[in-house]
Symmetry: C2
Subunit: 498 residues, 2 copies
């Protein structure tokens, strides 16, 4: 075995670093079954003397192999060939995309158990986040470096829990355009919208308190409220927003502290509230002494100029907590967002933020502030708007063309999601399984409910992560499968998995 | 008034940008009282025509003035001279340092109300975090750029909630040296130790559950447990760790789910647990079915080679959650740390992390991983170790020399804090007020208790943020004040503020 390694030839004059040359060769030997699972690789010292290279090269090589999933190290023992080898067809970032929504649901098991595979060729209607090749990495690198040169160590010192003041100021400027009045003192910077919901829950809710949510709604919000020990009283959505009768009934009966709503291009349904409904919900919140979280999910992606009024802009009595992620349609891994907090809650929110993580990363806050100030945010948003609008149009057009007539869908006019009501004899689980065999995935509607849904036959299609050229082919195939199942031609032997 | 602005001369050929030239001039006019509080500045359009410069210049200038605190903008209304002008003697990062520990305590009011001022010349024994000029900004910039070039958009995509796999792997390598066995699967990356405590609380505690803490202890932990609705049963510290009789009594009586402990160089007391006590506490946790959070605050700062055994390394029955911040003595604003989580809790912890903020910033995780892999972390730690050891030695020496004989203090042998037991007729509040008049601050012991402390006469001195050359002067002055108050020469007319 040692002879095998000794025979490896490394080129010290190559521009490829030695450790990469070596890790490539070892990976190849593992791929070809020359080195078998659980085989212990030679120690760092032994290997470096065998190959006559520096031990740092071997350390780096073994680390690289570990990153790539070829080996694992056991502390104090050594480095071993992995038992389960990396799947060369997929990669980290691809398999991660679907996790966005499905992560905390049982459906993750579908992925983990191999029922659903996501790889580079998958047409992924399950993810509502952009593909990473659309991220403005170069510009962000520019502002990061400018901030490091400008702020030096201050960028890494403890930050104000409420957020970097200039960033709060930039947020106010952005909101002016949306007719939302705010001052730096009411802006709370957060590490993404998910954290915002968590902080509000921490500031407002005690075990047993009630929260009103839309039904269906964002899975991450359900998870927070449940984790806080709160009870969820959900209210069904009509095509123009929450059902007001049921809302008022629930407000009277449960006296909830909080109403969680996504009024524009709702996740998952795509529904937007009419302006009248926005007014009425605000009035009800005032009457029954509840706060509203207005989760501004993707209101800017308004492809048909519907210009809905933010509830916050109507809010004269400080009932509305306005919540927005910067990362959602920008760069999800950035973890950055903000809230506009009513003065009555501000102290509690700062305290909750401090107890949560002291502050959001100073470097990220400062870099993003500069990104806004340089006009790059507006510029990037316009680019993304155009891309998403094209994808939206393609998706709607393909659905119009290929969907069986008995399938309902509402054209949202914006956002990232389309919600299908498929025929009840077409089981969503079977459809998902069959689609995934054709390399197409989507999010089953069931996961967006906090309790057992009354309807099981919904599908959320997101077009954010599907390349424009793939949309028609994907929708067409999916529609064929729906027709197929609808005609009762269930694939024999397949047990529905949902 | 408009004439006044019109007369301003800007140099278009200067290397100083026009907006900076202009904001400097306006700031000067405000400083000199030429422009008074609440005066509305000319609109962007008006100002740009008055000065014959691009409107972008005016936008940037007003923004700069806002960042510097000279003006504030009212949405839809205009830009106004601020009523409270910036204090030129302090700056953002300095005034922020003390916030570290005092933030959530009433003592913040002392700062806000102007009783305690922190500026560049303050000898700050209140902060246990390093000065920002010690941060390795250049090296971190290097790894950030390398990661951006290497990972491109992947650095900003959704990340695994458990953490970036290679970073978890690097954490395991670091822990091997400490004889703590772990695998990537048990490492949870967190946005700082504070978030770790919050996530554990979320995963384990329901309202009304009991938690055992040391008394006194880290204020941030108290805040988390209280926010979760948990009851705190605190246990006093002896010189070698928790009082075991009271610990067992509380375990029997309250059946707590969790014991929160900082066994090495405890915050705030500096006390370290004997190795025997570590064993016994672990045995008690097993017997009474509680988990232990071992907060590894600064165990590496072991200046006298006491080589305490981490409780986690003794943990055969997976009772211990090992918690460590990377940011604490590195760069606090980075917000990065990790936990080793027992397999029985792992699922709950990942779920709680996901509901908290989905994941920690991908860019920061990847950059820090590379920082470790390049050996920069070990290198930087050694530099900081030497600096802190020198400051520790200076502090202890000065205390030995200048403290009145009736003041007790325990030499911790490591860490960042020294805990003084001052004579009870020297009120800590009066001492703090008098010291701050001499430009010296410290943390009053009272804030580290979850309920009314039995003793009020403690002081925590941290030497992390005090320049080595300032230590002797600061300690000497502080000791003089203690003697002064102890002799009963209370400053007449001063009402004690604590």
């Amino acid at each position: 075995m040692l002879e095998l390694f000794k025979s490896l030839k490394l080129d010290k004059n190559s521009s490829t670093p030695l450790y990469i040359q070596l890790s490539d060769k070892i990976a190849e030997m593992i791929d070809n079954g020359i080195l078998l699972a659980d085989l212990k690789l030679p120690s760092i010292r032994r290997m470096s003397s065998l190959l006559n290279v520096n031990s740092v090269t071997i350390v780096s090589c073994y680390k690289q192999l570990e990153i790539d999933g070829y080996v694992h190290s056991r502390p104090g023992s050594g480095t071993y060939v992995a038992a389960v080898l990396p799947d060369r067809s997929g990669n980290f970032s691809d398999s991660n995309v679907i996790l966005d929504e499905l992560y905390q649901s049982d459906d993750l098991n579908l992925i983990n158990n191999g029922h659903i595979k996501i790889n580079e060729d998958t047409i992924n209607f399950a993810s509502a986040t952009p593909q990473s090749n659309l991220f403005p990495v170069e510009n962000f690198k520019l502002v990061l470096n400018e901030v490091l040169d400008r702020d030096l160590g201050n960028a890494f010192d403890y930050q104000d829990s409420q957020g970097f003041y200039p960033l709060r100021s930039s947020v106010c400027s952005l909101l002016e355009k949306r007719k939302i009045a705010c001052s730096e003192g009411n802006v709370q910077i957060i590490s993404g919208a998910q954290q915002g919901i968590d902080i509000i829950a921490k500031a407002l809710l005690r075990q047993g308190d009630y929260v009103i949510t839309e039904s269906p709604t964002y899975t991450g919000a359900i998870a927070v409220f449940k984790s806080r020990g709160a009870e969820i009283a959900d209210v069904p959505l009509s095509n123009d927003g929450l059902n007001l009768n049921i809302l008022e009934y629930n407000l009277k009966k449960y006296k909830p502290k909080l109403i969680y709503t996504i009024p524009s291009f709702q996740n998952p349904t795509g529904i937007s509230y009419s302006n009248e409904k926005r007014q009425e919900i605000l009035a009800l919140a005032e009457r029954y002494n509840a706060y509203i979280i207005e989760d501004d999910y993707v209101s800017g992606l308004d492809f048909e100029n519907m210009s809905f009024t933010p509830i916050k802009s109507l809010d004269k009595s400080d009932r509305v907590i306005f919540l927005k992620s910067f990362s959602k349609i920008f760069m999800p891994g950035l973890r950055l967002g903000f809230m506009i907090v009513p003065p009555s809650l501000k102290g509690y929110v700062i305290e909750a933020k401090h107890a949560t993580d002291i502050s959001t990363s100073g470097l990220i806050q400062r870099a993003f502030d500069l990104y806004i100030r340089k006009g790059m945010w507006d510029e990037h948003f316009e680019i993304m708007f155009d891309i998403y609008r094209e994808r939206y149009n393609k998706t709607v057009k393909a659905l119009d063309m290929y969907l069986p007539r008995n399938v309902q869908f509402h054209k949202p006019g914006g956002g990232l999601n389309i919600w299908l009501d498929i025929p009840s004899n077409c089981l969503v689980g079977s459809l998902l399984k069959a689609a995934s065999a054709e390399n197409i995935v989507f999010a089953p509607g069931r996961i967006f409910y906090s309790s057992t849904p009354t309807k099981l036959n919904n599908v959320r299609l997101s077009f954010a992560a599907v390349h424009t050229d793939e949309i028609e082919r994907g929708i067409k195939k999916l529609c064929e499968l729906i027709s197929y199942f609808d005609r009762g031609e269930s694939l024999t032997g397949n047990i529905p998995i949902l």
